[in-house]
């Protein structure tokens, strides 16, 4: 089970949620909405590329639109491995958080 980084996890989840509409702008807006932080190129596009290279995402080109100065969109969707990676991440998360109810419980 390969551990994915937090950012990667967030992006994968965003792609999952956005479904057919998952491309740079929407992912970015979604993340901003959830975390309050505005990620720029390095925060979004680089991890996106990495995830594609790792095989968790695949991309496909959309149609060019005038709002984009005539450039096409690049959409993303989860691959089988990506789904598995997310599932693993969730399991690990649950295991880690299991049994912790009171966060102030620090061993003195």
């Amino acid at each position: 089970m390969e551990i994915i980084t937090k950012t990667e996890e967030m992006i994968l989840l965003a792609v999952c949620k956005l479904g057919k509409d998952a491309y740079g702008v929407t992912i970015r807006k979604h993340l901003k909405q959830v975390t309050g932080k505005d990620f720029s190129i390095g925060g979004i596009y680089v991890p996106l590329d990495r995830l594609v290279r790792k095989g968790y995402l695949e991309s496909w080109q959309g149609d060019p639109t005038p709002e984009r100065g005539g450039m096409s969109k690049r959409f993303f969707r989860l691959t089988r491995e990506g789904q598995r990676a997310l599932a693993d991440a969730k399991t690990m998360h649950e295991k880690l958080w299991a049994g912790i109810t009171d966060l102030s419980l620090a061993k003195g």
Binding site: Y23, G42, S59
Partner: protein, 873 residues
Amino acid sequence: MQRRKKQPPVLAKWLLQTFVRYDNTEATLGDFEELFYEKLRENGRLGANIWYYGQAVISLPNVIQGSIYWSLSMFKNYLKIAFRNLLKHKTFSLINIAGLAIGIACCLLILIYVQTELSYDKFHTKADNIYRVAGWVKWNGGSENAASTQFQVAGAMLTDYPEIMTACRLFRPGVAQALRYGDKKFVEENVLNTDASIFDIFDFSFIAGDPHSALQDPQSIVITETIAKKYFGDGPALGQTINYQNMVDLRVTGVIQDVPATSHLQFEILIPFGFNATFLAGLERNWYWNAFWTYLVLPDEQTAVELETRFPAFVQKYFPESFREGTVLYLQKLPDIHLHSHLVNEIAPNGNILYIYIFSAIAFLILTIACINFMNLATARAASRAREVGMRKVLGAARGNLIRQFYLEATVMTLFAVVLAIIIADLALPLFNSLTGQHLELDYLANWKLLGAMLLLALIVGLIAGSYPAFFLSSFEPSRVLRGSLSGLASSVILRKVLVTTQFIISIVLLIGIGVISQQVNFFRTKALGFDKEHVVIIRSRPEVDRQFEAFRNQLLQTGGVTQVTRAIGSLPTEPSWTFRFVPEGWPVEKPIAMAIAYADYDFLKLFNIELSRGRDFSREFSTDVTEAIILNETAAEKLGWQAEEAIGKQLDYFGAGSNEFEKQGKVIGLVRDFHFESLHNEVRPLAITLIHNQLADVAVKIKGSDIAETMTALENVWHRFAPQWPIEYKFLDQDLDKQYRKEMQLGRIIRTFAILAVFVACLGLFGLSSFVAQRKTKEIGVRKVLGASVSSILLHLSKEFSQLVLFAFMIAAPIAYLTMNLWLQDFAYRIALTPGIFVMAGLVTLAVALTTVAYQVTRAALINPVNALRHE
């Protein structure tokens, strides 16, 4: 149109474009445009622009990070492949690395050598302001450019020229000095007389005592650490008394650290000039004797230049009339002395800037050979990498990527080579030190310049050596190489042959060089000198022995092992000869002729078996011989214009050293054949020999060739009977003579080592080349065998190719070597002739070595089973 005005700012767009170059630029840029227009709607033009710019700037660090990450992944892959290749072709890799390592090690060693040589005398704080006064002196018959000058020059200059800040003089007593502490007697060679101001000029670290007052007292002495230990053990040296020459007691007023090797001034003991009033008085009167090294401290260089212009007036003012014309004084900068000064009477033999050039050239050459090897071997294996290159290109690698990959491989090998080089350099250091006569150290931690230079070296070597393979291998076209045809490699073979030939040219030149140098040295050592040098012991005389010389001589002869005893001054190559002014019969007194003079005792000619050609030898039967008799050598007779027979009986007078009175007014009683009373570097000069009279002269003893040890013991016993307070000092003449040619022998050893290295590295290259050629010719050999060629004929065929290379290299190397060696030999008055023998030998040796190197590959190729060969596709 409205749209035009609302485009995102061009500059920012360009920035983003550049930053996002790594992948799918268009889509990402499109995303940014979309957001831009949103911002435009929300915040207006300015806000949108600011935001856009902001985005571009923020992206920068992440983009860099991203591309580094990407590069790192490829880097990992390249490294993996590089190591795999290294291991797959272990032999080649080893050869490559070894070759480079040797080259780098050589460079390392030569780097420290050059660094040390260039740093001589720089440790004195005033080094740049210290100047030495040197001068040309001329007399009728000769002139010399001496590193030392007259005793009074320093004092007179200090008086006349206020811009001179300090001055000091140094003088070496011509013979070793006897020092005594308590009952410990020593004979010291490294004693110098000097002025107290020496420590104001030069920085010698004081362990005990005060530099400013150390030599103020005329009866003081300053010694080095080693001497202190020798005399006083671990006890304190300061304040102790040492007896000097059985003449005077001196008090130790200073102990200094041993003089560093990087100083042209070398000594162990310093004694002031004034230790003996008579000695000092004698020096002060003499304006002829230029044996005193004089150093000045000047404020700056302009002063020095300006001062020099006033020297001619100085000479006119102070020098005696007969010396004025022809005396030219000038200044030398202290740091320049070690490498550039080769005057008569240097304090110690200096280094030579020529050596630095030679060594640097050699290092460069060997490194070049190693790099050439590397290139050769890397491209020779091109066949095995061709498919990989093709595949990589098909899969999208740009040429740049491939270049980077092969550079990386070269760098990896260079790094290994560097590690190996450090080890090699360390192991070779003692050998190198003995070759150069230095005591160099490879301290990387202390000598950061060395470390930096080495890393730089590694980098440059990697770049150069890797350049050709990188560009060559990356140029393969997938369509050609994947099909399996290797035709593109043919042209590279020519280049490779050129490279190997160059290596051999260098090697052959070096081999010829050794041959010539060895022959010349041998010539020096075996050439008939005109006198017998075997089994001759030279003993340093003392007044006690001298006073009773006849008795001493008789007792020596009685010991049975001794056959002849005589005395001599200035008549053997092992000691300097003196030059006096002679006035032959009928010659004007004002224009004396300068000739060499030697003093000898009665049996001198007999002991040394010098051939008398006319007249007679000195004889005890003629009582006037002591005051009158002079024997000339044939060159002298010629110089004085006398035919052989007419010289006998002629009047010949000569002046005493530095005086206007005749020391002797004599008659020529005999002529001898020329013999080499000076080193073979010089032609035989005219020489006059006269009998010793009231002079302290070395004793020459001829002993039998057998039972030498016993004879020597007997000798010592006799000595002790006459001079118990002096230790006996002696040397064997033939061993001593060899020392004169030390410089040439050293040069020979150095060149020999480098020649061997060069040949070795060249052979490495040849080995690689031969394997490649053998591979390439596999099919050809197979076909030949099928058609009936025998193994031996194939061997011959393959060897021929390589022999041609060597032959060609020889043809170019021979003239180069001939010219260079001729130039070197010009320096010697007596030299060998350059016979073809040496050249042919060098050529044959190289050929033999080359053939041996390729033998393995060639034999293997010749023994191939044609079936396998022809299957090789």
